[in-house]
Subunit: 383 residues, 2 copies
Amino acid sequence: MRKVYVVGVGMTSIGRHYKRSMRDLFAEATLQAIDDAKGEKPQALVVGNMLSSSMGEQDSLGALLADSAGLRGIPAFKVEAACGSGGAAFFAAYNMVASGMFDVVLVAGVEKMTEHITATVTRALAQAADAEYELFYGASFTGLNALLMRYYMEKYRVSREEMAAWPVLMHENASQNPFAQLRFKITVEQVLNAMVVADPITLLDSSPMGDGAAAVMIASEEVARKLTDTPVRVAGVGLATDSVDLSTRLELDDLAAARLAAEKAYRMAGVEAGDIDVVEVHDAFTITGLLSLEALGLAGRGEAAKLVAEGRFRPGDRPEVNLSGGLKARGHPVGATGVYQIAEIAMQLRGDFPGVKASNPEVGLAENIGGHGATISVVVLRR
Amino acid sequence: MRKVYVVGVGMTSIGRHYKRSMRDLFAEATLQAIDDAKGEKPQALVVGNMLSSSMGEQDSLGALLADSAGLRGIPAFKVEAACGSGGAAFFAAYNMVASGMFDVVLVAGVEKMTEHITATVTRALAQAADAEYELFYGASFTGLNALLMRYYMEKYRVSREEMAAWPVLMHENASQNPFAQLRFKITVEQVLNAMVVADPITLLDSSPMGDGAAAVMIASEEVARKLTDTPVRVAGVGLATDSVDLSTRLELDDLAAARLAAEKAYRMAGVEAGDIDVVEVHDAFTITGLLSLEALGLAGRGEAAKLVAEGRFRPGDRPEVNLSGGLKARGHPVGATGVYQIAEIAMQLRGDFPGVKASNPEVGLAENIGGHGATISVVVLRR
């Protein structure tokens, strides 16, 4: 396999971009990434998106978005793996450079969520679950995550207060990130007293709905040397799956796909969990972030919540976790999230992330989840 | 790039599989393909599908389908490029073997269309067009193709009778294909007298709605030698895009993306259009098949319809075209179609296609279109 490098990144702020189309958001992030790569145009495009087909009446996003940014004609297609679409798109694009077919490929994640009413979005997001075995029975995506959270709290004797430490840390980190959707700090009390969405999940355990686009340009070694003075090596990539429905999982509180994907990515990169300096994990809900840390080997089983409550994983600790603010507070434009994470980790390794900066990191990791752990990608980046 | 081979194929019959789920159809095609590859299990899966998100309430197809065929855990994701999803999925999978990351990858196309009413399917198919510049104005996908057909007939002075030769040939070929949806012969008169769907397109110019799944296993050279005595080389692959909306095309009757994709695939395979012995082109409508032959260099501009009416492209001619019966009569389970085509061409080159057999072909080609030519893939296979 050829070596692959990140040579350019771009992103829009996340929020309610009511007056801006998906094309517009995509073009902003993409033109930034192209600029960042000294103006080099990509030879191919892979788009990560979840909701455009189900909610936006638009398929064919690959061709549509390529054209919108002046890239008409290039090979382009969309990858969908629910909220894990961005990371899966990166995985496909990685192989297109590693194979030698292309020297420069653009991965872009884009999502418009806020122009629909919440009920519509909730219904569309539930398509990440199993339509026949979960959705049919009226289970919402939040409801299924509430079940996971309750199970974890009971099994490991974790208090509601301890669980609340996660969103508090996320909002603190996001308050410094100019691209974040929720840039205000919150307290444990606010988390506990917030509206209950699906018991025990409150509004402040949940990632917000937002619009946004992120873009990452990747290139072969030879081209990377020309396009940037701060290339970031894609040292390892892993993608794995699990059952979509929770009912047939071997262990409810084990994100098996994250473990499998991390094993592959670690082996490929020649690193272990202990080598990771900075990480962005997929905390669509508080429970998702905690289970991710455990599956990645960054915390023992059942220990993540208590460690966060004790003050671990903050800026200055090792690893530093979700300095962007995570899905909880940076925001979660679902199909774009995985690309935001990779762009953020690349910027941390280059030293130019505009929010809370990691402490001179060498190795970073981005973990992106589709469904309740059905499709999980892990990307290890190195300075 | 590593060399890539087709080592196994499988497909279901196309039709109204009312009692069978998407998982069931997928598993049938996949288990056939695995059997065909001496029982070898794939290391990764790429799914081609268009309508499951918009019409079937189900995202996360990669993980869902992998699990349904006993492949839980493997890397898997869905690729969407409207009706060109199958070919685009093959393109992604090709790179995953060519890169060296995987030795055996499964590409599967799957679609369930017939459990919804026609209006619902027509609406969902229209998402292949531009939502803001075409769909918003009420243009159906058939209506936009009718515009193309009328333009072609006027520009090149082609009669309605000449255009009708295409579907007549397709039904004749399909009558021998046990997997085909429409296995009856038709006459030019029947085409002309059939119900008008969108003038000048009649019902018999249009591909039917159907359910089906097709699977292709691809492998590296070393593994291919072990798994089959009749490996088929993937000699060239090309993918290209164009504007999604017809209004900004440079020339309405030029499938520019097919030209670009074919140029790449021909160059990579070291062949020219004249070397192609057998081809499956994407004839969602009569006009689409004719424009495809021209863009691939198999007929001059404006000549394809007249050549078909004169009896060219039949079994025994060179190239032999759509021996399966094409989308018109084999059927068009949209996101699966591109995978059917590649499986059919592979079987023609191996000599075991169960319908009309090509005359000792050396080089075959499959062309798959998303939208009215927005995303087009071309795959050249060699014996």
